[in-house]
Amino acid sequence: MSDAPNDSDLVRRIRAGEAQAEVELTRRFERGITQILIRQTANLALAQELCQETLIIIIKRLRVHSLDNPAKLAAFIAQTARNLAIAERRKQRRRRTEPTGEEMVDVPDDQRDQERDAQRDSAAAAIRSVLAEMKSARDRSLLVRYYLREEDKDVICKELGMTAPSFNVVLFRARSRFLELLTKRGLTGTDLLAMVLV
């Protein structure tokens, strides 16, 4: 739930020019903003870039103006992030040229921007290792069906002949191992914003 007095105080301190308050705002909201933007863009690098933009916009705004309802700071930031994602989508849509009709065999592979995303590569490498370590084909299939195909948990359990607790154990182990591998690679993606607000 929203911590309204704290949010109002943060807004007031930024308006008063307190640099430490800007750092606090960044630390407090960066993770949430990034997740909203990943959900909107399905692109880790882009989400982090837009998160930085969101924070810069918010802080610049708060340095000059207060909010009508400072207690709604989180909602205001979330909406700003969504607006940036929408603007980015429009920009990409204008740039994109979609192939239509029949294509011959020599059509080159469509190398998209996301493949240059180092964080995405890191996630791919970690999940590759997780899949390679999973001995059961059923468990590997479960991971793909649940996370990628977004199939319903009950349906997967029924089709794979699993109980809900066994299902949860497989997911929990996979998530823990994935996180461990990502952390080993030093890429948890949470400490990138400290240098933003110069």
């Binding site: 739930m1 929203s2 911590d3 407090r28 909201f29 993770r31 949430g32 903003i33 990034t34 997740q35 909203i36 990943i38 959900r39 399905a42 692109n43 880790l44 989180a74 909602a75 930031i77 979330a78 009709g101 029949e102 294509e103 011959m104 065999v105 020599d106 059509v107 080159p108 592979d109 469509d110 998209r112 996301q114 493949e115 995405r120 590569d121 996630a123 791919a124 490498a125 970690a126 999940i127 590759r128 899949l131 390679a132 084909a137 590997r140 299939s141 991971l143 793909v144 649940y146 996370y147 990628l148 977004e150 948990k153 996979a174 998530r175 994935f178 996180l179 990502l182 948890t188 949470t190």
Partner: protein
């Protein structure tokens, strides 16, 4: 509902717009622990998506058993064979169809649109074959093959998944139709396939003559 369930529903897009905004503003923005949980789920999802787009996922999921696992596998196979025989007898009518000679041969084919269309021709200089890109749920993939045998009609096709462990044939001797223009039509159902490397083989139904091979990479998008 606990935060784990909410995180699951958020990442898999099962919340309606109002619920999603509420979750973002009241939970995700306020609770770093939930945001961290969502972050891991997002990264797993995007990592899997990246592997699928690169054509690596199918081989990782369907990789063959290691040597040490064969003892268990043999015992399991004996049990499975009995179960499979019963299952086949009961469910033969609903077996998955990955490839058809006509659109209607695919599941729900009568109303299935064609989402992507390609022409394959033997080009011996290209060992890798083309990349066939299509959306998983947007309809069938139509492949028209320029066949070189000179036979007007009477073909059968097979489809095999190619992985590091070799080939796994997933459809065999499927009757195919040759149009008057010398092209043989093949329809693939992307709902039943995964991104990865495949080989399509065409052979005269009579068994006379060699099969023509068309390796390709399937790149399924959402």
């Amino acid at each position: 509902m606990n935060s784990t369930e909410s995180a699951e529903r958020y990442v898999s897009g099962r919340m309606d717009e109002t619920e999603e905004r509420q979750f973002e503003e009241e939970v995700l923005m306020q609770r770093p622990d939930v945001a961290a949980d969502v972050d891991v789920r997002h990264r797993i999802k995007l990592g899997l998506l990246a592997l699928e787009e690169r054509g690596e996922l199918a081989a990782l999921v369907e990789r063959p058993l290691r040597r040490t696992q064969w003892h268990y596998a043999v015992a399991a196979c004996a049990l499975l064979a009995v179960g499979a025989a019963i299952a086949y007898w009961q469910f033969a009518g609903t077996a998955r169809v990955v490839i058809g000679g006509t659109l209607t041969a695919l599941k729900g084919g009568a109303t299935l649109p064609i989402s992507a269309s390609y022409i394959f021709a033997s080009t011996r200089s290209r060992a890798q074959g083309p990349v066939v890109t299509a959306a998983r749920d947007a309809g069938a993939i139509r492949i028209r093959v320029v066949q070189e045998s000179g036979i007007a009609q009477g073909f059968v096709g097979s489809l095999a998944v190619v992985s590091a462990g070799g080939e796994n044939v997933i459809a065999e001797r499927v009757p195919l139709v040759s149009g008057g223009n010398g092209l043989v039509e093949v329809f693939l159902d992307p709902r039943e396939l995964q991104s990865g490397k495949y080989v399509l083989r065409l052979a005269p139904e009579s068994g006379a003559g060699e099969a023509e091979e068309f390796p390709f990479t399937l790149n399924l998008t959402r």
